[in-house]
Amino acid sequence: MLFKLSMSGLRSKYKDYIVLLAGLVMSISIFYMFQTLAMNKAFIEANAMIGPIQFVFYAGSVLLSIVTFFYILYANSFLLSLRQKEFGMYMTLGARKNKITRLMFMETVVIGLISLVIGIAVGVGLAQVIGSMLMKELEFNSDGYHALYLPSLIVTAIFFTALFLISAIMNTIKMLRVTVLQLVHADVQTDKIAKRGKKTVFAAILSIILLLIGYASMIFMTYLQQLGVIIALITITSGTYLLFMTFLPLIILAMKRNKKRIEKGLNAFTYAQLNFRINSLTKVLATVTMLIALSAGSITAGMSFKNNIMIMVDGADYYDVTLHNPTKAEKELLASIPFTEQKEYRYKVSDKGIYYLKDDLMNHPPRIMIRASKEDFGKTKVPDAELPTGAEIRGEKNDKHGPQMPNDWYEAMEMIQPYYVYKGERVIIADQQMYDRVQGKEGVALLGKSDQFDAHLSTWKQIDAMQKSKLKLTSDQYINTKYSNYTSFRAFSAGTVYMGFFLGIAFLAMMASCLMFKILTGASKDIHRYEMLRKIGVRRELLMKSMYKELFYVFLFPAIIGIIHVLIGMEMFSFILVHPYFRVWLPILIFLVIYAVYYFITVQLYRGIVMPRKK
């Protein structure tokens, strides 16, 4: 009988249950998605650029588990609050307490199991869709990734079953503690506004110290290695939670103290709502901040690895193309590219070697890379040494004579005359007289540089193919052109880029469901406030404005702190990325746009609950 009753109660609140279920399903599916990557050792080790990648994923798993733990606990206390009043009523009608608590326990577990099944199904689907989409987008092929991955599935199932059991026990304990009257009047209990003392100020300072330690360990990651990751993980997570629990309420309180601002229009109400909301949302906001940091961080890292491809390629080769004796078809292709710099060097091929005309080299010297230190990466210079006539490279060692080839020129000649063109033939520098005497076929080496290497990828590809056929090389023969450098770098980073984007999207979805869930579940408590304000004559537009303002701040704080985390956290990658901050604004801008859209949706949904359209 009681079971029947409780089923009907469940049906009457189906909207709230859908919100609850959606939140749970989301967190489960994302946890699963993360695990499909994290537990697939073979895949991540084969595809990541970062050495201790497995460790990074372990750290990520711990963080995600903490975040999920808070989320599930909150969701289940929401479940309890949904049922309190009804259970109280059953008890006043004479139902026994242990029966009610058993009912509550069952309900928590059943809801958990339902969401677990749906969540894993959704997770498999999402992993499949996002995975194949990203692979296509990034031209990255790997059979190693499986959307349906049994070990991840088992871990997800165990983790959430345990979580649901814990929260079911917690709900039961809560039920056992309260009296019938408290249950019946559960919805009229006013929200307490906590008073804050010196302890809060101390904790606020502590939170900032923790964050600073975390930031420092991320900046000095190169020295701290794995220890840095662990320190950052602990201090930043705890610092963020502490910051939101202590520092933020203080800020809002300070804002509230400004009498002039408060006593203007609806501000008193807006800031009071905000104050109250920030107090009840501290843990959720901290969770959201961590998720923003993880999401924006993953996307930014993914993009940086993508940008890094071009930085690495440009740093390895200054000239986009080196071409010997271009054919007509090659010339046509070259004409389509807006070169900013072009060099031509004449040479003669004789049986003794290849003679380069010194005047050409001296008059238009090619730029070579400065490879002195890490800071010089990507910078170029003109060879500054004198080029002695008769200097030579390659050829048989014991045949070597003539003056020493200076290092700079050695490098320049290696570039002008790539190994694959004439194999190991000797290269000799000849002045005009010597050059004129040499009997042999004349040739020309051509160097070209444009600013848009990545805009003409297909052209480079064609040129490479033509060179191979011209030089009678097989098509799978490796030639060290800039384009082949590019393809190998891209293949090398694609796995990391893929992981970054994949996780970024997953965390973004979880962040969205987390904050929206919390705001919407609390909304029903606000209905009577807005109704009262409308009764005393506050215009709808003014109420709307108040909602936008209030939620703006709620969204603002996690965004600011999350992005600070990301910006400082990117420093971690400086050991592997040349410029971790190159174009960092782009992923952050993309992230902010998505975040803003999501803010508007939340406000609209919230408005739909607290201020329904006219009857």
Partner: protein, 253 residues
């Protein structure tokens, strides 16, 4: 002759679509409240008194008829204008106080003023003055959750009063109060009416609360049933009200 504050003429409120089961919540009610009057509206449950209050307080629209408050015809106003009208000309006291529990009492009372764009400097003295009148100066800095029901209702009265509305509308304001608090609130309201000339309209089904009024309108089944004026002491008036209520029950049957 004093100027009328509320003029209600032939107001009808119909629920249900034409042709279907129509029910008349109000069926041609007419009356006038003059400036400085303390009027009670009584009637049994389902008599239409709440509907009447909603129509007068512009929360609901009459199907037919005209309602004028402080000279403006509110039946012809748009939604936004009605909001402004409510915030400027009307003061509300509800049964369940309807204070915002996340604001202090001071902020609750100041809200109607800041909504009208009164500067922060002028708000302080006005709140203080109205708080003195209602005897709640000592609790201004507290949160609603920290004070008693009676104090809460005085605060609600202060909020209804602070912007000097044309009329105060009370919807069962003593409904959630014990008798001691109810008496003290009613005395305060009488005081406001007599010393400060505030017009008050009180909707109640409690004869004791109603006996503080000067004039009482009884409605039944959406129609005006009877109107009585207080001539002698409050106690006599109370008995008179009870008599009318007793009649109300019998005539119907």
């Amino acid at each position: 002759m004093k100027t009328p504050v509320v003029e209600v003429s032939n107001v009808k409120k119909v629920y249900g679509k034409a042709g279907e089961n129509q029910s008349y919540a109000l069926n041609g009610v007419s009356f006038t409240i003059h400036e400085g009057e303390f009027v009670g509206i009584m009637g049994p449950s389902g008599s239409g008194k709440t509907t009447l209050l909603n129509v007068i307080s512009t929360l609901d629209q009459a199907t037919e008829g005209m309602v004028r408050i402080a000279g403006s015809d509110i039946t012809k106003m748009k939604q936004g204008a009605l909001s402004d009208f409510r915030s400027q000309k009307l003061g509300f006291i509800f049964q369940d106080f309807n204070l915002l529990e996340n604001l202090t009492i001071y902020e609750n009372i100041a809200l109607p003023l800041s909504l009208q764009g009164v500067t922060s400097r002028q708000i302080g003295p006005k709140v203080q003055k109205v708080a003195e009148t209602l005897g709640i100066t000592a609790i201004l800095h507290k949160n609603p959750a920290e004070v008693s029901g009676g104090q809460k209702q005085r605060c609600a009265a202060a909020r209804a009063l602070v912007h000097e509305p044309a009329i105060i509308l009370g919807d069962e304001p003593t409904g959630a109060l014990d008798s001691k608090n109810a008496t003290s609130l009613l005395t305060a309201m009488t005081n406001l009416n007599q010393e400060h000339g505030v017009s008050i309209m009180l909707v109640t089904h409690d004869a004791y609360s109603a006996s503080y009024c000067e004039r009482i309108l009884f409605i039944q089944d959406g129609e005006m049933y009877k109107e009585i004026h207080r001539q002698s002491s409050r106690e006599d008036f109370y008995r008179e009200i009870l008599d009318v209520l007793a009649d109300l029950g019998t005539t119907k049957a």
